[in-house]
Structures are given as C-alpha cells and as structure tokens.
Symmetry: D5
Amino acid sequence: MLSKKDVTDLVYERKRQAGLSWASIAEGIGMSEVFTTSACLGMNALPRDKADLLVTNLGLPQEAAVTLAEYPTKVWDRSVPTDPCIYRFYEIVGVYGDTLKELVQEKCGNGIMSAIDFHMEVEKVPNPKGDRIEVRMSGKYLAYNAW
Amino acid sequence: MLSKKDVTDLVYERKRQAGLSWASIAEGIGMSEVFTTSACLGMNALPRDKADLLVTNLGLPQEAAVTLAEYPTKVWDRSVPTDPCIYRFYEIVGVYGDTLKELVQEKCGNGIMSAIDFHMEVEKVPNPKGDRIEVRMSGKYLAYNAW
Amino acid sequence: MLSKKDVTDLVYERKRQAGLSWASIAEGIGMSEVFTTSACLGMNALPRDKADLLVTNLGLPQEAAVTLAEYPTKVWDRSVPTDPCIYRFYEIVGVYGDTLKELVQEKCGNGIMSAIDFHMEVEKVPNPKGDRIEVRMSGKYLAYNAW
Amino acid sequence: MLSKKDVTDLVYERKRQAGLSWASIAEGIGMSEVFTTSACLGMNALPRDKADLLVTNLGLPQEAAVTLAEYPTKVWDRSVPTDPCIYRFYEIVGVYGDTLKELVQEKCGNGIMSAIDFHMEVEKVPNPKGDRIEVRMSGKYLAYNAW
Amino acid sequence: MLSKKDVTDLVYERKRQAGLSWASIAEGIGMSEVFTTSACLGMNALPRDKADLLVTNLGLPQEAAVTLAEYPTKVWDRSVPTDPCIYRFYEIVGVYGDTLKELVQEKCGNGIMSAIDFHMEVEKVPNPKGDRIEVRMSGKYLAYNAW
Amino acid sequence: MLSKKDVTDLVYERKRQAGLSWASIAEGIGMSEVFTTSACLGMNALPRDKADLLVTNLGLPQEAAVTLAEYPTKVWDRSVPTDPCIYRFYEIVGVYGDTLKELVQEKCGNGIMSAIDFHMEVEKVPNPKGDRIEVRMSGKYLAYNAW
Amino acid sequence: MLSKKDVTDLVYERKRQAGLSWASIAEGIGMSEVFTTSACLGMNALPRDKADLLVTNLGLPQEAAVTLAEYPTKVWDRSVPTDPCIYRFYEIVGVYGDTLKELVQEKCGNGIMSAIDFHMEVEKVPNPKGDRIEVRMSGKYLAYNAW
Amino acid sequence: MLSKKDVTDLVYERKRQAGLSWASIAEGIGMSEVFTTSACLGMNALPRDKADLLVTNLGLPQEAAVTLAEYPTKVWDRSVPTDPCIYRFYEIVGVYGDTLKELVQEKCGNGIMSAIDFHMEVEKVPNPKGDRIEVRMSGKYLAYNAW
Amino acid sequence: MLSKKDVTDLVYERKRQAGLSWASIAEGIGMSEVFTTSACLGMNALPRDKADLLVTNLGLPQEAAVTLAEYPTKVWDRSVPTDPCIYRFYEIVGVYGDTLKELVQEKCGNGIMSAIDFHMEVEKVPNPKGDRIEVRMSGKYLAYNAW
Amino acid sequence: MLSKKDVTDLVYERKRQAGLSWASIAEGIGMSEVFTTSACLGMNALPRDKADLLVTNLGLPQEAAVTLAEYPTKVWDRSVPTDPCIYRFYEIVGVYGDTLKELVQEKCGNGIMSAIDFHMEVEKVPNPKGDRIEVRMSGKYLAYNAW
C-alpha cells in the first residue's frame, strides 16, 4: 500500500505539474490551508470524504485516499529544527515559552492550551514597511485535574 | 548589580504580595502583556522610560530599571521543554513546522517570518464547549538574498 | 518566599518525624494518594483550602500553603530516568507505546488520551505468587481537530 | 526468513483488507488485546500455538508463525517519543515518576514494579463529559536483595 | 523529479569532467561565488533565469533548472561539524559568539545581524608569511521589537 | 586569585559605571575591538603590557592584569547556541559550511582557514534600506600535510 | 537530616582515618563487600539493624543509621561513564550485550536476568601471568508474561 | 566478500533450520559459549582453524571462515541499550559502577579490570524459588603506570 | 564516479586477495604507513602521482586515482568511539587533555599543536614484558593572534 | 579533607607565586612532566613518597600528600572538548582512529594499545619553518582473549 510518504511525494508532483497552490488544493476540498497542507505532508488525517475529493481533484491513484485518511504517526527527526523558516518558530517557543505559560495560566487557571483540539491559520498581511506573516493559533484550554 | 534573574524574583515577589496580574502590570506601563511579561522574565529589554515606570509602579529598587533595560542574553536550558504548557507549543512546531514553511513561502516567496521584528498576543476566548486560548503571532517577512 | 523544593523538603522532614505515610497525609486532606504525593513533590498544585489543611495537619509554616497552591513548572532532568523503579515505567512506554496508540485510536478514533484531564491510582494487590502493583490511569479522550 | 518487521507489515495489510480490529484478532487467538497487538508489532513473542492460530486466522504465510514466536529484541529509536499519543504517556512518567516510586515503595517496601512479569489493559470508558481512556497496569512487586 | 541532491551530484560530475571552478560557474551566470556554490549544493534557490543559464552552461538536463529554483529545506546532520575546514568556523562562533553579540549590540542597539538578508564573500589574500583566507559577511541589522 | 570570570564581572561593572564602550576600551589600550572584547570576556589572553594598561584605564585591582594575561581555557556550554544574535552565526556555519570548504579549497588547495592565526573585525555600515553589520574574518591558510 | 551524600562523605572520612577496608567494614556488619560498599555509596538501603551496627562500628552520628536505611533514588550522571575502571564494564555490556541476551534466553526462555533480585561478588584471583579480577553476578531469571 | 553482518545472518539461518543451540555450536568447535556466540554475532574474531571448523559444521560457504577470522570493528548503536535483557546489565554498571571501582582498587591497587584479556561465562542455576542466571567475568588486573 | 567509500572497499578487497600489508602498500608508493592508510580509508588526499602509482600497484580501476586525490570531507559518526582500540585513544585525550594543554603552552606559549600541519607514526616496540605500541605525533606549534 | 580539586588549586597558586614550570616541579620529584602534571590536575595518583616530596617542595599543607596519592576518579565533562588546544587531539582521534586501529592490529594482531600501562611525553622541537610539538605515546599491546 502507499505510505504517507509516497502520497506526499505524489501530491508534490501533481502540485508542481499543475501549478497549484496549497490554497487552491485546500479550497478544492473545502478545508483550511493549514490543515490540508499538514494532511498532505502526512501529519494529519483527512476525513475520508475529503480524502476522496482530494484524490479526484489531483488525479491521484484511488488507494491514496485510504492513506490520506489513516491516522498518522507524527514523527520529527530533529529535536532542534535546522531550516531557518522552521527554526524561528522553535526560537519563539524558547524565548517566549515561560511567558506563554504565565499568560495562559493567568487568564484561565492551572492548565494548558491543547495542541489536539487546535487549529491554526497563516496569513500574509501587506505592510508598507514590509509585508508581515500572521499566525493565529487557537487551542482549547484544558484544566489540570485534582482528585 | 542586580542580575536579570534577581529582578525577575523581585517582580514575582511584588506581584504576589500586591496580588497583581501581568495584565495590570503591562497596562501600568502602557505596553502589551506578552512583551511586558517576557521583559520581566528577562527575555526582552524594556525601553528605559518604561523600565523606570515599572520600577515606580512595583516599588522596586531604582537600579532594577537599569537591569530591565539591558539587552538580555536569551538562554533556555532544555532543547525539548518538559512543562506540559510549554511542550504543547514545541509539539505544534514539530507537527506543523513543514506546513508553516510551505505556507509562508507560498504566500510570500523564498524567505522566513522574523522572530525579531515580531510581536505576539495571547487571549482567552470564551466558548460554550470550553474556553479557548488564542495566540496571534506577527513577524515581518524577510526574503532570502541572492547575490 | 518558600520554593516548591523548600516545601517538599519540609514535608519529607515532618513525614519522617511523625512517621506518617503518604496515604494518611492524603486522607487527612480528603484527596487521593497520587495527587497529594505529586503536589507535595512539587508536580501539582493543591486547591488552596486543601493546602491550608495540609499545612495545619503537618504543622508547616503558614506560607507553605501559598506555595503548595501555586501552579508548578513541571521539570525533569533526565530524558531517560535512571532509578530502576521509575525506569521500568519508561520501559513500558518504550515497549508498549505503539500498542497504546493502536488501541486508543482503534477504540476512540484519531486522538489521544489526555495527561491533563487525567487521574491515576496505585495499589498493592496481594497475590500468593508474589504481591503485585496495580496502576490505573484514566485520561479524557481528546479527538484531533479537522478544520 | 521473514523479519519481525516483515510480519508486522503483513499483519497491517491483512487487517486493513479484512477490516479487522485488534480486538477481533486478539479474540481469534484467545489472548488479550494489548499482548496480541504488541506481539504483532514485534515487541513480544507469541506462544507457538497462538502464532499458528494467528497465521491461520489472518491467512499469513506459514513461516510467519516462526517469526511471531521468536524472542524479540525490543528497540525504540527515540529516547523522547514525538507522536502526541505516545508522548503523553512519556509525560506521565516524567511528571509522576517520583510519585510512583514513593507509593510503590510505601506500599510494598524497597523494590520496584516489574515490567517483565507484567500485564496491561486499555479500555474506553463512556462518559457524558467526554469518553475516557483507562489503562490498567499490573506488575509483580520485586524487592531489592540485601546480601 | 530530480531532487536537490541529484542536481548537486550532476553539477559535481560536470564540474569535474569539464575541469571547471566554482568561480567560473558563478561568472557564467553572473552571480557571486558563494551564492552560486551554495545553490549548487542545495542550500539556496537560484532565480529561475539564472537556473536556466546554469543548466545551459553545464549541459544539465532541463528539469534541473526547476530543482535549482526551488526553495530548499536547509538541513545539516551534525550539530557539531567534524570536517576540520568547517569545524574551524564553528569554533570561531564558539570562541567569539559573545564578543560578536557585544559588538553588534554596542554598535546598533538591541538586535541581531540577519542571516537571511545576508551575503558573504570568500577570498584568498596572498601574504609573504603565508597566504590568508578572508571571509566577509554582511547582514542587515534587525532591531528587536517592543510592543 | 581572581578568575577570568571575576575579571569579566569587574570589567562589566566599570564599563557600566563609567559609561564606556568596548570601542573606547580597545582604543585605550591600542588594540582592536574584537580582540579586546574577547579578552575581557575571558576568551583570549592580553599581552601583559596591554593587560596592565587596561587595569590602569579601568581602575581594576592590580592582580586583574595577571588574570587577563593568562592563557584561557576556551569553553562554551551549548553545542547549539540559543541567543538569537549568536545563533544566526551558527546558522551561517550550518547553511554555508560546505560552501566555505569548497571555496577555501578551490582557492588554496587541500587545507583549512586557521582559527588560531586569525583576526576579525565587526563594523556597522549605514545603509538607506537599513543599516548592515559587516564581519570580516582573516585566517592563515594551512595546507594538510602529506608524508 | 543527613543526606545519602553526607553519610557517604562521613564514611569515607572515618574509613581513611581508621585505615579500614571495605572488606572489614562489611565483615563488621556481617554482610557482603559489594552490598555494604554500595549501601555506603548511597546506592542501596541497609536493613535498619545493619545500619545501626555500621554507625556504631564507624562512630558515625546516630541519625546516619536512618539515612543508611532509607530507600535510595539511584541516579548516575553520565550515560557513558568516563572513569576507565568503570568504563570497561560499560564496554563489556556494549560488546557482549547481544551475546548475553542470546545465552540467557537460550538457557531459560524469553525473559531477563533480574537486576533487583540480584547479588554480585568481586574477587582478586592470583595468577602467575598477572592477577585477575573475578566478578560473579547472580540474578533471578524472570520470564516475560503472555496474557 | 561476506561482511560480518552477512555471516551473522547465515549463522542464524542455519542455527534455526538445524535447531541448534549456541551451546552445541560452541561445543562443535571446542570453544566457550560466550566467545563463540560473540564471534558469530561479529563482536570477536575466531582463530582461523576454529572458523574453518565452524564453517564445516554449519555448512556455511567457505569464505565465511575468512570473515569470521577477521578482526572486528566493535560498534554499538545506542549509548543506552533499550532491550530489557541488555538494559539490566547497563543498569548494573550504573548502580554498581563506583562500587566495582572501590573494590577492584582496594583489592589490587590503582588500576582496572581488563576488558581485553577477559573471559566470561553465563550459566543457568536451578533454584526452587526460581532459577537464576549466573554470569562470571574474569579480567586481568592492569595497574596504572607512573613514570 | 567512484566515491571515497567505493575506493576504500576496493583497496580492502585487493589487499586481502593479494595478502598485502599497509606497510607494503605504503612502501610501494614511497609514503608513510599512517598517511597511506588514512588516504585509503578516505580521510586524506593522495598527491595525484602517488594515487596513480597506488592504482597501478593494486590493479585498481584508473578512475580510482581521481578519487584518491580528491580532497576528502572528514566525517566520523560517533562523538564517542565504541571500538576498544579506538576508544583508548579517546580516553587518553579525556584523561590527558588538560595536561597536554598545560605542557604545550608552557613550552611554546599561548597556542596549539596543529592537526593539519601534522604527521604521525605508529610502531611496534618489542619488549620482554610484553610488546608495546609507540605512537609519535608531530604538529606545528601555532600561536594565537593578538590584534 | 582536601579534595583533588582543592589540591589542584593550591598547586596552581604556588606555581604562579613561585614562577615555577611543570618541568621544574616534575624534576623536583624525579618524575616525568606529563605524569606529574596529570597528577597535579587530579587525573593520576602520585606514589606516596613522591606526593610527600611534592608537598615539601611546593610548601603545600601536609594532608595534600594524602590527596595526591589517592586513586582518582577520572571524569571529563564534555564528550567533545571545546578548547582548541585539546580539541585538535580529539580531531586527530576522529580523523585517524580507523587508521590507528588498522596499523596497531596489522603490526601486533587482534588487540589494542593499553591506555593504562601507558606513558607519554610532550616536547618542543625547534624548526626553522616554525617550532613543532612532538607527542610520544607508548602503551602495552594487549591481545584479545579467545576462550
């Protein structure tokens, strides 16, 4: 069967050949850009009907839909990422980690922001001094149990 | 002289005694919560006038203002954070790192989102299914040079 | 102010002098053994009224209650624990990690067992072939978002 | 000969094609879900008769039974797991490791809970506030020698 | 499609066969030596017209131009490099890292030298006591935000 | 005796009190900014007469001159630096390490650029699009032996 | 209270002053050399009556007996030991680890040698070609569960 | 030529097919179980005549004898082993490392037990309370030089 | 083209078939044993004429000479070597590293021994108490710059 | 009692005050420079009479002789040293490790060079092209056992 990696490679190939953007691929299946991209990269599972739609839209082999709908094992190789575009987000967690904890817990109590019941958007915001990237994360507040 | 760590301890002490929130401390100096908190935790430098104001508002020793305005050396001890509230953000970078790169670069071109010309907000968003935390990051897009 | 570590040391001291068990300390404040012990070791926050009760029961200084009720920063020093009693649990996660994932996700869907909305019990179960330890964990199932 | 990895791949393939659950595979050989799954993932050895039964039930090549009955070398690649579903169990060991040690040793004496003479169950517990996962571990208490 | 690695191998092969230098390859496309070399090694993206020119000049397959113009994922395998020629630069960062920070920040304020809006030159400087290598780096100063 | 660390602390203190820059400290002893700063930070040894001069200029205790002239043991704690201003230089070595090796060896032959017979300058270069930092490194070319 | 480390330091001091050997200390409390030494180094708990006897024999403060009888947390700092005398044992595990597994499991079945229900002896064996050290380990065979 | 790994695979295959034990393979060439096993696993070199005998006994290709007699490069992948059967030996080194050093050096002087001029035996010792594994190591005492 | 690794494999093959020693291979090209061996193992570049000679002497394919003369990228996989024969040299650096630094710098001044302008010899020295290995290293003294 | 570290500090202090070299300290007790230095740095044990002599010569407190004669625990903090003078020796082991193994084993057989029955000398060799450092190591050849 096709592995998640195989499907990612196929998606990249079709995307390049057809000159598609992640935005249009996402729109084609009626889901967000971040979620669609992460599913195509093997880091999330598409609902089965969305997987079928994606397969049709991109002309992928039918069995790719099964793979896209499978629950992924989320693995990353480097505990510290090296690519500068990804490292900067790691750096933000390093620099602002304690601050995030202080503010999450001041606003909501003893708990965390979920990374599971979670969604995220990425946007380009034009700016005369230089365009900006805006990332919005939203996660459910989860309170620690006392028992 | 007082170290960044000394000042952080003093701030925590006054904050606890006076029952202050980070929100009110930030408001008292007219700066954002995230920036003010990170500066109090030693991860950013306050502009000198803001440092003076903070020292007055919290009743800190005068020299604490010098320390708060010093350029910090940003250090974190663990390449993988252990506290669950911070780890979840690390996990987001691990799971969505490649996705963030794909979307930043699709929207803007070959480059990164700056973590220096950068600001961030944290908010609690009430929700009947359970309150949510919203984090908004905004960083300047920086294009790679070709020369 | 007293740190979490200071309070842990004080609790150990009183516990030893008074010949108390974790079971009786927990019973004295009407909470479970696991939660009470973890809070005394600085890994959880006691509700304030429980903290006050603990301070009274053990004859700790009054300010220890503030510390016990503070939200902890959960830190562990070794990514692989060395003490044999703790290592065995690490080994279980290594050996059965993929199995746990398969079964959690077969039973509930694409998601995880929460370690935040979570409780755990430890019990000794007498057995003629040699007593056994029984550990029961219960965590809320959290489904991954699709958006 | 077929490696443990080869057999795992074959099991996954048949499981997917036949739409089987781990629960039904386990039931088919009269063993528990956790143990059966872990053996199919190459982390435990099936008794030979159970291996033969599994091979018959799933229509695997006969020699797969030899492989399933072989004593495995238990290896995991990451000292800190990355998949969120597995990481949460690692986090539990990090947060509650010292607590587990305190309670095991308070209840039984100077010793450990065995991870060898050990069994575990995973269950879904319906709950109006959201279903829960329950994990029950049972390991033999082993006392340290003094000599 | 050709991967960045495939193209690097092809470039090395043609370079060796034709007895070319990086200097002449760079000159052939009208870009600097450092940038051209790094793009051929897969660590930078060539502008598409330069990529086409390079492909023509070296007689590479046409699709190599697409690969050369793709945005690379910048990965290095060793957090501490072992090759002595590269290690010496790592050593310079280790020995002079704090000095670089002091001087950058004394001259410009609280900020950093960008590694993105960045260019570099390498030159041989003849010297009677032994030739010298001169490396010149230029990066845009980026000031930390306060908000 | 005063350790390198003690002297660094004293220098920082005098520098802050007197409002001195590294540039003026260096000028006061007739040496370069980079070298003087690195020696004050304990990463290089000042010639004894320069050390005496520095001690006089800054009003340090006489024995600090002995310490400043001692051969340092150069140690850094993190194989990957975390402060963003230093990390960017580490990133440059990661991204351009192989390129530097290619060009050093194309220009000079099989060898390295010395980090011992080495000097470096840091300069601010005003620029209408934003000021730039320029770093110039010069190291002696050392050829590998064949014997 | 005295920590395990405090007691170890006291034992070393008395041992040196009185010119005692570990052999004689062990004999004085009627236990083996290996166990007695490891308990004095904080890696095992002495039975309380043995702890009292040791305290009397060595003239330690009375409370040292409580410490010696406490259940230790077994921690080692280096995953790879550096002292040559200890490293050689690590090397033996590296070189012969798979061999030990093959032979333990060929002789007894799918299981392990316990390191808990375990004892060890160290002896010097005179030999004309050079004296030898003989180490004898004995651990209970523990079979893996199938359930 | 056959690599050490190739030969190990061949030995496993013949061993399984012929239902041989390491004990009988060792006996067949008149060498010990531990040494024979470790040589078959590629961690030791067989004397050439023994290698020839082994090849004959197991019906291996003739050139396997050359490989078996070659001096191996001893490599292990994990600084901390994960398989429980091997980890327990690692744990013993961690827990008893300092004790081993104390006793080796008390009995013989400043030196080590050799892991080169070394032999080891593994035995099963029947015991009514549960069989035991006995491991006997013997290494030459080597004194540190003073010069 | 042949990689360094390919050529190393070819050299090993011819060496074994022809029953050659490194000594004789080195003599055949008029270079030292250490340098010749290291070049054959891919860690140094042979002068082109020596590479041609080696290729002729061993009957290697002609293009192997190009590979042997190429500047190698020196990479080692393990920061701590495991093979005992190599580890002992690592151990010497660990135990005597500070001593080497003290003596190099006492004899020559603030600087280092070059590992680039460097040569080394290995010899067997017969000795009635057991033969000895003698390793002689010679590296150019390089003084640190002050500027 | 004085620790090894305390004695090292005292030796450094006396050495500096008296303007002594390691060479003269070694000569004063009739032992080699390398061994004497390493013993003063806490990495070797002086014979007791030599320790007494050293204490007398340097005017150290009498109990320092006991410490100097104690068997050290040899520990180094960094698996990869950072100081350039020490790193170069580490680099030599990395680059030439396999070569050293090939030549030791070609000359003597399957075995190693001992780092225990070992001595080393460091010398400055004047040279018109630049002085050189010469390091001579001599270790007993130890053959692997076959049993």
